[in-house]
């Protein structure tokens, strides 16, 4: 029997991931109950993403609140045609956290000097960690270096261009190509 409101079920060795299309549609309509459910379902993942950047539990949770309330007040820019709601929210909160970190000179220095965060304050997911490591191995050396600086260290493309003494356009293309390679390597279906 078909499940109502659910069109994509993704099998992974770890669990089942189900996109709740009713929730996504209600969130896009700016339904208060949908926002509460989004916090319940994705709040921990959003919090973790903010924590990876900010390394401060209170700031990270404030960031989750701020992002959801901003979307709520402003009117969300999400629509189901964009894709996975969880991915949208995670990127929103990650970008908000990066903005805060960049605005804070002390945290900016911390970011530049820090090791990759997964091994420091957060627990790796063994299956997903292996999956991501394998995907990262598909990148060229220069792509891997650029992704390291862009994603893991939170640097802007202009900062990376300055750090590597390369043109901004080259860095932009490299980040774009690297992320598209990672999408193929991670498996498009498993990302939804």
């Amino acid at each position: 029997m078909a499940l109502p409101h659910v069109s994509r079920i993704v099998h992974s060795p770890k669990d089942f991931r189900v996109r709740d299309e009713a929730l996504e549609a209600a969130f896009a309509r700016r339904d208060a109950t949908a926002y509460e459910r989004a916090y319940q379902q994705f709040g921990a993942r959003m919090y973790t993403s903010a924590l990876r950047v900010l390394r401060d539990k209170e700031l990270a949770h404030d960031c989750v609140h701020d992002v959801l309330l901003h979307l709520w007040r402003k009117g969300t820019s999400y629509s189901p045609a964009r894709g996975n709601l969880e991915a949208f929210l995670v990127v929103c909160v990650r970008n908000a956290a990066l903005t805060r970190a960049r605005d804070d000179a002390r945290r900016r220095a911390l970011l530049a000097e820090a090791p990759p965060p997964a091994t420091s304050t957060l627990d790796a997911d063994p299956f997903e960690h292996a999956h991501v490591t394998e995907a990262l191995s598909k990148l060229s050396e220069t792509q891997a270096k650029t992704i390291q600086l862009a994603y893991y260290r939170g640097m802007t493309h202009t900062e990376i261009a300055a750090a590597l003494s390369e043109p901004v356009g080259t860095i932009k293309s490299r980040i774009s190509n690297a992320l598209r390679t990672l999408r193929d390597a991670l498996g498009k279906e498993s990302l939804r």
Binding site: F88, Y151, S176
Partner: protein
Amino acid sequence: MNDSHIGENAELYAVGSLDELERQRVEAHVANCADCLRRLGQAEETVLGLERETQAAPLPADARAPQFIAPRRAVWWLGALAAAAALIIGYLLPHPPTASNGPAQVAMLHSHFNHAQFTGAGPLAKVIYARDRSWYYVIVEGSHAYSVEGVGTSGTIDLGSVTTRDGTSELFVPHARRFERIELRDGPNVVETAQIR
């Protein structure tokens, strides 16, 4: 990013390598471009795949969900309508309205009208329009001089810029043309769009 599509900026947005202004430009573009919206969504899903490398940490024990209370946007534009209503009453009296936005109130007095919310990366904004599309009245929170364009099947028309009055900016357009959407622009960038139905 060229004038047409966001291109590589989809991946840069998702990975966090754009600054706030560049992100706003991406958001404004994808509000009206299904292809770029899809590319951006795919890039976001890839970043989610990377984020899943770590287990989701439990929320702090004392964490509470945000309170999603009916936002201010539900009422802010009603102030403009209240002012309009007051002036309409004034119009019914022997002396006609003298306020700068008198034409908007007069138009509302004589028409059935709808309203539509702007969405995008810009300020709170709303367009009130006659059901027969004989006029449009754009209200924007704040005092920035956004330009307004109407987009229809026959192309895009520059409708002018909003002017500030009492903390909100507005533009009344007596324009008998059917638009599919109204766009707020800041220079060359579309920051907000309202769909006319």
